[in-house]
């Protein structure tokens, strides 16, 4: 019996390191593995049911992604992404700003429809339904970026997306902020619809930088008390 992902006649069973990579990535993003937690390869390998060899290949990739760091004395530890969260928004503004510009030039009618639908649904979702709001927020930005048709920009976006959006969702606590975000999404959609890349660019940057301000004002709920070493 093959792995379940291989059921549709795909050529090859999934490598073990890929599964480990996915699981670790999710665990780190969801804070199930605390920042600065030292990762003991033997234990981790046993937990994942693989040997250290493919585990280390997964960890090497996670390190390039910035999710994991190598300690000075060797070995890996979970990155503390709060350290450079502020900085990450600069990169995001660069990528998504220019991305919105390209999107305005290359977007299809179908994508515009999806953006409009996203905004419409967002306006109706309850403030309390955090999961739904987070999903819609992620989806909006994904549609814009994928409309660029640029594999490199899409790749760069997905790399930082996970580092940021889970935190960003936490910030959407007030109805005021929520409505403002949706309004900005609405304006960006309009700019893209009018194929005005310059406006789309500027609106997107403003949207992201104001999101950063909100993020840094938050009460910083989860404190560093859980940070093992």
């Amino acid at each position: 019996m093959q792995s379940i992902t291989d059921a549709l006649g795909n050529g090859r069973p999934e490598p073990a390191w890929r599964n480990a990579y996915r699981q670790l990535r999710m665990a780190i993003i969801n804070r199930e593995l605390a920042p600065r937690l030292r990762l003991i390869e033997t234990d981790l390998a046993q937990t994942l049911g693989i040997s250290r060899t493919p585990l280390r290949e997964a960890l090497a990739r996670l390190e390039v992604d910035g999710l994991v760091t190598t300690a000075k004395s060797g070995g890996y530890a979970v990155s503390d992404m709060r350290e450079d969260l502020f900085d990450a928004y600069d990169l995001r503004a660069a990528i998504e700003g220019y991305g919105a510009r390209l999107a305005a030039e290359r977007v299809t009618d179908g994508e515009i429809k999806r953006l409009r639908e996203n905004v419409t649904i967002s306006q109706r979702v309850a403030l309390s339904d955090r999961n739904q709001r987070a999903r819609l927020n992620i989806e909006f930005h994904e549609i814009v970026v994928s409309a660029t048709r640029s594999p490199k920009i899409i790749h760069a976006f997905t790399n930082i997306r996970d580092l940021i959006l889970t935190d960003e969702d936490m910030t959407l606590h007030s109805e005021e902020a929520h409505q403002r975000f949706i309004r900005e999404h609405d304006l960006i959609t309009s700019a893209i619809e009018m194929r005005d890349g310059d406006i789309a660019d500027r609106l997107m940057r403003k949207h992201l930088l104001s999101a950063r301000e909100l993020l840094l004002q938050r009460p910083d709920a989860d404190n560093a008390s859980s940070g093992e070493y």
Copy 2:
């Protein structure tokens, strides 16, 4: 006896995979390993004087960097970067454009001086001295990006820099193009000096996109004849 890089009292001997990573990276960028060349792990490991285990860790990282690709049937091959060279310039315009904007806000007087010197020297270097011109070109963009003080933007830049600049140097064949590049560097420097991020951003984007046009017009000197499989 320790490795020579460890001579200055640094804590640890360099891991074997890091050296392999560097060597392979350079070899791929310099086209010593042809695009689409299938990498046989056993041979490569023997050439590098290490075993397959650290070699595979180096290859995993190179894959995340985009320098190496996994074939459908398993194994690694050198990426054909000409495929997405055009695309890479979009990402570069996004990063360096916004980077120039940040640089204008955060640059120090010392950095401005270095930029001015770079431009001045570039104006005097002979057209035939390709190495020198390439070095100066890289240096200019490095100064601008490092002036952003943004680790993430610097990291993203260094990632694509190597994919592009070696090719870009090939394009600086005409005196006209050369002078134009320097003139654009000069204007960007002035914008940064005046702390005008908006102008710096637009100039940098224009500079990069015109560089892309030149690149794609080139006679495509090295043909795909060397592309093994």
